[in-house]
Symmetry: C3
Subunit: 437 residues, 3 copies
């Protein structure tokens, strides 16, 4: 296991811990409301103390309204022999999310109008929801669908749609300043792993690590249902967030051990973009750089006109860009402890960049005399300059107009290799210590 | 025949109409002044009601002075047998423009000093003028010139140079605002087709189309002699034009069915550049993008320092860039109804872009709920997002800082595909109707 | 021999003159202080009247302190037979710069700790100094070093390190304005030719040429020891320089006849960068464009944060980028009169660009009528435009926002080809003469 460069996070077990939490949460049937969300948040609260919020159905949230709460206890399809050909208890993806209750006998023809499958992925159960139109339906593998024989089928959905609440969790870690870093992930997907349990489990352990040390910035970490949840959250917190949030990350699809991916903010020019791009460039230069036109997660809300938060999305295999996406193939085999750890380290590195970012200003005119401070090889020989080159490059751009990320980009060194040099220059009195706090 | 996308211009006959007007105008001997210009403007006035302006010779216009008026009735060269070896009535290009009157017998050697031909295009009669130096001369094909035998020749030019007027036509179409779109073309070239009768005939029918519907902008359309005419026009109208003109097109060489061409404004950064580049990119992505260093038509005046109008030139085969340029080969075979129609549609599309350009601003925070407005498929399945993607992209950049052209460039969709989406969003109350007027 | 384009510098003998001065100065043992510097400056003063400054040891200069003065009279190593195996009088590179005095017998093993050689360049004596740590040492070729036999060696260094002065020369040429052009070169290297006697000899003759005519700008030309000398100079003159210097060139490594090189200022965006890049682009388009990260000469001080002077370094084979660098191979064979002349012309051209730079503004609206001023061929024929194209391009961008360098870059013509056109336009009254003074 690796450690985050330079600032000593011990990640030796975090990959396993994240994976184990995902295993625990996997069977729960989550949706945008309901007891599955509550149970998920309760288990996460065993790791970090979430404040749980319940927002009543019917509450106006921007252009939307909090929908009725949906709960489900059972759902299946019986054939004429009474055999369960589809069973929600076997895989909760079998049920279309927000299906209304039903208990009927239907012909195969009638049933077909309520079945969803993927001919191009015949063994996968697709993930389908119908939040805002009354409907019931089942999702099955296409191969099973093709095996259904003519006849009568009993369909039973023991669900309930009624006024209740939308539930989300919030965790605020107070830092030295009111300026905030915002982390968001979602807890509304049923039994899928990369999209989406990888986000909440990573956010949980990242929050734990953030809380383990004093921080310059305040951290606002939210576990919300996608879209309606982020809109609900924004509708209650937009003013304070617009004032305080300097950088945010939407955390989704962070569990595979495939490529790293970046979805920029609306114009790609926020501090979050700058932080993410710098870390990705040096740690994962082969990362996939998407356009905002490729967005699809809650950055859609956080970067919408009028909201305009500095938020980017960091992923491994991005939603919509891997074949298992939104099917039963997005399961515990697709996500690995190593994949989660890589994402965890990427985000931890971004946070360290944020926390350690300064705009250093060299305290003398001209180059400082490194020699008298023990920073320079006194004997000038043909190649002796090479060893101090990095320090001099850092100093050359430490003119008070560049932060460490700018300097890193300009001189081509990762920020984490600049930290020890900054430390030496502070100790030598060439940088003000106060710049570094 | 095609129609201009999206806004219903019926172009079914306009190509033939433009071509027919060109056939009618072709034989007239035009120059920068004189009765050929008057007759040309009179025939155009049968289609659109031009205001004809007559500016006296000697009038100071910026650094220039309106020259004497030139008219010509006949011109020829007779050989010793009395045979017309060169006859102006056969092709008015045979006479150097602004030739002074003469009736003399000269040797072939003396005559040679007044002959112009193109060795590299031996069958073409070149187009030559001498507006500002007293001179007479004839233009002939190089093959004919090489066949001239030693001997005496009688040269006769029945022309007149005297104080008179420079004539131009102006057509103002009042719109809802005082802001103006400026269209300019020239009517000073004798019998040539692409450069230049294509410009005036296109401008005539474009003006007719513009006048056929209410317009947001006022249109200032001028038919002037090149250089001295545009300078004369500017000297009389510069203040109002600098105040009002938001976009202008110089229309020249628009008749071939070869490539499309674009000559930018002086710095390539005006609204006219933005409009033209957007339309060209989506309609004719293979267009030729020239530099302002390649200019050569009246954009030379409209984009000169101190004048600084937002004007670009749109062409098919650009002046100076096709082999037939400024010769008798630039004739009615080079220009086609199809070629003219393509240019007509390009300019009409630019005008539609101008007229329909708005800076939309979405009226809610976060993404709107499309579903309750019937704008979204309620059933969320693996690929259902694709169909609303375009609408959401438009909304994402409808933040009040981008006009439709900016949004088109950002999201990679032509503006004319955005119009129906804008209409739906206005009807849904998500865009203010007033933004769209 | 060539002449600087357009403005008549006769360089016919300057290459030989510069080379001869280098031959004269070559044997002198220079360092950052001492009599070698004084003698070098004295000989330069035979060409241009330098003001000599002596700054006492111990003087605080920014983060530094003027060191003790070092002088040396003799230094050698004797073997057991009394044979001089290393002799400073044969090549002053044999002695490590600033070596303390010593007279001792040592074993070969002890001696080895004080020897410096280059295994990869076995015939070269390296150049080594130890200004700020007390040390003594000898530099020898690696092949000679490998031939040293076991035994006793007598090492003698007849040097002196004591409070004295740092010496530099300054030459101010008053121009019509207080705005300054700054030229800097260094006189602290012992017997090496490209780095560095080429800089001082070029600066000497360039200064002579500058002083030979009235100048718009004041010229501040300094001959300083590298690093400590430029820092000392800045510490005494920074305020006036920050107010007045508009452009500066650090002159180093200008003697080979290999490539031309350019090291930008810190952000590459000063007037000096603009001047240098324009001249290089047109005169030496194959020049090597380094980054500020490749810096290594006194641009390190002049472009440091807080100093921020508009200074670039122009070289032929740049310090650190040629194999002979900082060895005895950087000798009078490496540098040629032709190489020096090329650099001289490059810098003279930069100065001419500076001196002649104006922001012309055309005095009429629209294009001027060139014809009535004799600037245009009256007979307009197919290709006649080509000959006035350059003049019209210059006029098109003479809008008062561009200087001649901008115009040169935009229209793709060297500035020196613009001068005669500007002159014609001034004579024609189209440009104000006052713009050109």
């Amino acid at each position: 296991m690796t450690t985050v460069a330079g600032r000593g996070v011990d990640n030796s077990s975090v990959g396993q811990d994240m994976y184990q939490l995902m295993v625990d949460l996997f069977p729960i049937c989550r949706s945008i409301t309901g007891n599955g969300v509550r149970e998920t948040l309760a288990r996460i609260s065993q790791h970090v103390t979430l404040e749980i919020h319940e927002v009543p159905s019917g509450t106006k949230v921007f252009d939307w309204e909090v929908p009725q709460e949906w709960n489900v206890w059972d759902a299946f399809i019986l054939d004429e022999e009474g055999k369960k050909v589809v069973d929600f208890r076997e895989n909760n993806l079998h049920l279309v999310g927000y299906s209304i209750p039903i208990d009927e006998c239907v012909t195969l023809t009638d049933l077909q109008a309520h079945l969803h499958s993927l001919p191009e992925q015949p063994d996968a159960i697709p993930y389908v929801t119908s939040y805002y139109r009354e409907y019931w339906g089942f999702c099955i593998s296409h191969s099973k669908r093709e095996g259904l024989r003519e006849g009568k089928y009993r369909v039973l959905i023991d669900s309930e749609l009624k006024n209740g609440h939308l539930t989300y969790g919030e965790y605020i870690i107070q830092g030295k300043t009111r300026q905030e870093v915002f982390l968001s992930t979602y807890i509304c997907h049923p039994s899928m792993a990369n999209n989406e349990l990888s986000g909440p489990v990573l956010a949980t352990f990242l929050a734990k690590w953030i809380a383990s040390a004093p921080r310059k910035y305040t951290y606002r970490i939210v576990f919300v249902p996608e879209t309606i949840g982020s809109i609900t959250y924004l509708s209650k917190n937009l003013d304070v967030m617009r004032n305080n949030v300097i950088c945010g990350f939407n955390i989704s699809c962070v569990g595979t051990d495939r490529e790293y991916s970046y979805v920029p903010s609306r114009y790609g020019n926020t501090f979050a973009d700058k932080v993410a791009l710098n870390v990705l460039k040096f740690k994962h230069p082969e990362f996939v750089r998407y356009s905002f036109l490729d967005r699809g997660s809650d950055e859609r809300q956080y970067c919408s006109p009028g909201v305009d938060l500095p938020v980017v999305t960091l992923c491994r295999s991005k939603y919509g860009a891997y074949p298992e996406y939104h099917t039963s193939l997005d399961n515990l085999d697709l996500v690995t402890p190593q994949g989660l750890t890589g994402s965890y380290e990427l985000l931890a590195e971004c946070i360290q960049l944020l926390e350690g970012n300064i705009k250093p200003r060299i305290r003398c005119y001209g180059e400082p005399q490194l020699g008298k401070r023990g920073l320079y090889p006194e004997l000038s020989a043909k190649n002796s300059g090479a060893s101090v080159r990095d320090m001099m490059n850092l100093i050359a751009y430490a003119d008070g107009s560049n932060d460490l990320i700018d300097i890193s980009n300009t001189i081509g060194m990762p920020v984490w290799e600049l930290y020890p040099i900054v430390d030496r220059l502070v100790r030598a009195g060439l940088f003000l210590n106060s710049d570094c706090e």
